[in-house]
């Protein structure tokens, strides 16, 4: 009478398992044609799906890249990558400063032109009847004295 084989060595167990598996592999080679073809079609369909997914993923990657640039790199990039990520931010700040400076200059120029036009223009006689102007002249005389 044999004793329990639950104590059989792992190598024997593995050997037997592989022997069974080797026989199973024969069944894989002998698959019917229609099954093989349907598997091929399934594979093609999966690859088509990959092709259709690819263009959709590219903008996603780009937008992630832009977000990463705005958030100072964020990920595990090198120092140079982080610095490169700062460039768009610096350009944006420089642009805003330039626009603001130009705007100030244009406003000042407009005011100067108005002042010049007022000062260069002859004073209309009606201005002397204006109580506000009379008051202005008086206050200038007082301050001059």
């Amino acid at each position: 009478m044999k004793h329990s084989t639950t104590h059989s060595t792992p190598s024997l167990q593995d050997r037997y398992g592989r022997a069974v598996a080797a026989r199973l592999s024969e069944s894989v080679e002998a698959l019917p044609y229609d099954i093989s073809e349907r598997l091929r079609a399934a594979r093609e369909q999966a690859l088509d799906l990959r092709r259709s997914l690819k263009p959709a993923t590219q903008p996603q990657v780009l937008s992630q890249g832009a977000a990463a640039a705005l958030s100072l790199g964020g990920g595990d990039g090198s120092l140079w990558h982080r610095l490169a990520g700062l460039i768009p931010l610096l350009l944006l700040i420089a642009g805003l400063v330039a626009v603001s400076a130009l705007d100030d200059e244009f406003v000042a120029q407009d005011l100067a032109e108005i002042d010049t036009a007022i000062l260069a223009d002859d004073l209309p006689p009606a201005a002397y009847t204006d109580p506000g102007f009379v008051q202005f002249l008086k206050s200038r005389l007082e301050s001059a004295q």
């Binding site: 009478m1 044999k2 004793h3 329990s4 084989t5 639950t6 059989s8 024997l12 167990q13 593995d14 050997r15 037997y16 398992g17 592989r18 022997a19 069974v20 598996a21 026989r23 199973l24 592999s25 024969e26 069944s27 894989v28 698959l31 099954i35 093989s36 349907r38 598997l39 091929r40 399934a42 594979r43 369909q45 999966a46 690859l47 799906l49 990959r50 092709r51 997914l53 993923t57």
Partner: protein, 188 residues
Amino acid sequence: MASERELSDFLKSVEKRAFKRSVYHVRNDEAALDIVQDSMMKLVEHYGHKPIEELPMLFQRILSNCTLDWFRRQKTRNALFSNLSDFESDDIDGDFDLLETLDTTEGSSQTESAEKLTERAQVLHAIEQEIQELPPRQREAFLMRYWEDLDVAETAAAMGCSEGSVKTHCSRAVQALGKALKAKGIRL
């Protein structure tokens, strides 16, 4: 990231085994084809960007999950888990020696007669039947470990259980197969 060519070659290399594995589980060619197709789509959709080395393990896991999903959809979960003997300590009786079922005579004749071919087909059919009779977890562990040639750790990861469980499942599966095949007079 795996190139399209690599992905195609990988799928080609696993599709037939995946199909047979699914057939052993669900016992239905149509369902097995659906499961394999589903697994391929999921692999490509969710893991197409992964390096090619990671795909075999991922595919095994996806295939297992898709098979389980199929059972859930079919509402035959009770049937699937009806035999939970792999969680119980139902020791196989002691009158069986695995060694006896291993044919140690190296390579019989290379030339096979028609009779031999028929015999091989019958043996294969018997093996497939016995594999289908195994409890699901034992079958899963056995096929991954010995047929897909994953090691214990990889099988455990794919099955979502401990390495000890994998060893137990495999041991019991081999014992059960050996005993059943011996009863049919089959030596490997």
